[in-house]
Symmetry: C2
Subunit: 197 residues, 2 copies
Amino acid sequence: MATDAINRLVAALNRLPGIGAKSARRIALDMLTWDTDAVRELSEVMIDVKTRVKRCSICFNLTEGDPCEVCTHPRRDASQVMVVDYVGDLLAVERTGLYRGHYHVLDGRISPLDGISPEDLNIQGLLDRVRQGVIQEVILANGPTVEGDATAQYLAQCLVPLKVKTTQVARGLPVGSDLALADQVTLSRALEGRREY
Amino acid sequence: MATDAINRLVAALNRLPGIGAKSARRIALDMLTWDTDAVRELSEVMIDVKTRVKRCSICFNLTEGDPCEVCTHPRRDASQVMVVDYVGDLLAVERTGLYRGHYHVLDGRISPLDGISPEDLNIQGLLDRVRQGVIQEVILANGPTVEGDATAQYLAQCLVPLKVKTTQVARGLPVGSDLALADQVTLSRALEGRREY
């Protein structure tokens, strides 16, 4: 039941990541209580983002101009490049405000099970950037998963002949968590990575 | 950071019910990977729903024609009317496929704390419908909360002079749940409402 128009909206919202059938229904019914102008505004913003936002030709960050704000920023350190799996990871690092170098977005992780091989990722572009000689350190910040580790390992191997310093962000206990609840792998990584106090 | 267009989209998505800042970011980044046509389709469906869906002038259900499908259905029982707080509740009952009567949507619950009094709800319309004499039974299906109970109690009082049979849907243990985890109020309602086996 419900009307066709509502069912179509629910089906469309259901395709958004993390939105199940119940949430989609809840959002659709809520939207019916909005002003038409508010709905029109959201719909325009959605289209706007698709037409205005592109990929940076250097680091594959999302950007409205090319190259992106990070690559063109006069006070960011072009000698450091942090490799991340997805743009969302880049944005998370930017939110900390602690990193002042450049980035390289791979747009995925090596995953033979999902049919994703190194050729499917933006790896060649990274190696080309390193060969230009400006980059002094490559910081591997791939996700702490089996696929992320495999990707980092592959990249590290590719970088050896280029003789660039290669580091990886620390694995350990997340701050604010409980030691008793940490899984074995995280605990063993935290122990391996222990430092003098 | 992120681009202005992305930030605007995240802010707009964040206004949807149940979508926090993190989910909004995730949806926005996902949307950037869609075809422009897919985004355009979602945005058109959103506008479409606002322009096509209205309220039924009899029961306040959402509908594309007036009166709604339920009120005009030839095989639904007009002598029964189920009173619900919100259209979402009506849709939930319809999904069970078990109810063949009519509805009346109040569009809220009496809540003095939120400044919602009986005059703010579609109560007068319900009483007018009952006065027409077709309705034999009013089924109170207000939400099982303090506000829902207050609303049901108010309605029951209003209906007394109209001499119409008034019932309320049962309160008790939700099927599939655990007796040990039920709260005291639900347990006491389940006990009160016990029936011979």
